[in-house]
């Protein structure tokens, strides 16, 4: 689950919350999250920022809140990471691992 960031930095649906999909099965390891969803034939490993995003989804954040939390972890402003966060969310959404409320 890793594609180059393609989304722009314009806020979208900022009030909606993101959460882990109910049907997603996952295990955290020291360096990755192993994921399996009904949309995936085989388990996939997500690392780096995608794994960080997965961890932070525990609190069902909005996209701006998620970007702020990720930025805090890597020492950057939310505006500097929002594009990458959005890209990760899109990838996880396509994999059936997350959903919007």
């Amino acid at each position: 689950v890793s594609t180059p960031p393609t989304a722009d930095a314009t806020p979208r649906g900022t009030g909606r919350r993101w959460r882990r999909a109910v049907g997603a099965l996952a295990r955290r390891t020291p360096s990755s999250v192993v994921l399996l969803t009904p949309a995936l034939a085989e388990p996939v490993r997500v690392r780096g920022m995608a794994a960080t995003v997965w961890d932070l989804l525990h609190d069902e954040p909005t996209e701006p809140a998620l970007a702020a939390a990720v930025g805090e972890q890597v020492g950057l402003a939310a505006a500097d990471v929002i594009v990458m966060v959005r890209s990760v969310l899109d990838d996880l959404l396509r994999a059936g691992a997350v959903e919007r409320r």
Partner: protein, 366 residues
């Protein structure tokens, strides 16, 4: 200079990680490749990494990376098994077939602080004996049985579990009871369904499991009657069930009702010997005060027989069956099975019959 720790000490420290009075080692491992191989074989990669993170076991950077790599492989397998379990539960629940998920997939998310601490390799599901035929039919799109039954009706009356295999080699064991051999006779199938199940949500699906005290008795049975060298994660399950709220008096009461006192006694010894920890004092006192009967000792011996465990268990099962007509049906099925069952197995009818007579005489109660 510090002394390198042995494989046995390292495995004990991993399997007992985070339990009260768990042993700690903090020294380099004497044989790293053997340690990794054993951790993988015992499916203890999650506990090993947790023990490393706590400093219970000392590893260098390369060793840590190697442990993470094998752990990720195991986690991928765990998730594949969990998905198979969810599909199994859905198929059976849609047909209103009652079930209880057993062992690792039932315990990982329910009794362990982190599900990655309890890995597994297959899916075990307990069903009512009278539902076995419907279960096989219902699960056919998912998996097919690996071996034919020796005779019709054998499964519903005598089998411990029917093994099903998916096209990609995953395994579902459909259980009628919790133990092979004579102890399987002691545990009535219907009794395993009389208590309200505990539910764990997996992938959005409510998964019914045994009550915690009965899970603990099952762990005793599996530890004491399973592999000659007991699996460490089974012993850990027993300790973890107590650590997560199984009530010692309830476990003892179930064990007594199911006539598994000698098995519980053996399990207490195995946890002490292989994990280096003690189970709750109330349970230990009850188990150690149990006086095994001659029948207990004879039946337990059938699980450790030098003649081969399965033939000895089969003979001991014959004598454990309470009714003559059950004994006749059981002996007939095993000595004169269907031709499809016999193909690929050792010997013909004559040899099976002769072997059966010899084993029955050897395991006859005296």
């Amino acid at each position: 200079m510090r002394t390198a720790v042995t494989l046995g000490d390292a495995l004990r420290a991993v399997a007992a990680h985070d339990l009260e009075d768990a042993p700690s080692i903090g020294s380099p491992l004497a044989d790293w490749p053997a340690f990794v191989a054993a951790i993988v074989e015992e499916r203890l990669t999650g506990l090993a990494l947790a023990a490393v993170a706590r400093g219970t076991i000392e590893v260098d950077e390369a060793q840590h990376a190697a442990l993470v790599a094998v752990h990720e492989e195991q986690m991928a397998l765990d998730l594949r098994v969990e998905r198979l379990m969810v599909e199994t539960v859905r198929l059976l629940a849609d047909a209103r077939i009652e079930l209880r998920i057993l062992k690792g997939p039932a315990l990982a998310r329910r009794v362990y602080p982190d599900p990655s601490w309890r890995s597994f390799g297959d899916c075990d599901v307990l069903v009512r004996a009278e539902d076995l035929g419907r279960v096989m039919a219902r699960l056919r799109p998912l998996a097919r049985r690996r071996f034919d039954a020796p005779r019709s009706r054998f499964d519903a009356r005598f089998v411990k579990a029917v093994c099903l295999e998916t096209d990609d080699g995953m395994q579902i064991d459909v259980h009628r009871t919790l133990a092979p051999g004579p102890y399987g006779v002691r545990i009535p199938n219907a009794r395993l369904f009389t208590d309200v199940p505990e539910i764990v949500a997996v992938g959005g699906e409510p998964v019914p499991c045994l009550p915690r005290a009965l899970d603990a008795v099952h762990a005793c049975v599996h530890a004491a009657l399973g592999d000659v060298q007991p699996r460490l994660n089974t012993l850990r399950d027993l300790a973890q069930l107590f650590a997560s709220g199984a009530v010692a008096e309830d476990v003892a009461a179930f064990a007594e009702e199911l006539r598994c006192g000698a098995v519980a006694q053996r399990a207490v010894q195995l946890v002490r010997e292989h994990l280096g920890v003690e189970l709750p004092a109330t349970f230990v006192e009850w188990a150690e005060s149990y006086r095994p009967t001659r029948r207990d000792l004879r039946e337990l011996a059938s699980y450790r027989s030098r003649e081969g465990r399965y033939p000895a268990q089969a003979a001991a099962t014959f004598w454990a069956l309470p009714r003559l007509r059950d004994r006749v049906a059981y002996a007939t099925a095993l000595t004169l099975p269907s031709r499809s069952y016999l193909s690929g197995r050792d010997g013909g009818y004559g040899r099976r019959l002769a072997r059966g007579v010899r084993l029955l005489a050897r395991w006859r109660p005296r």
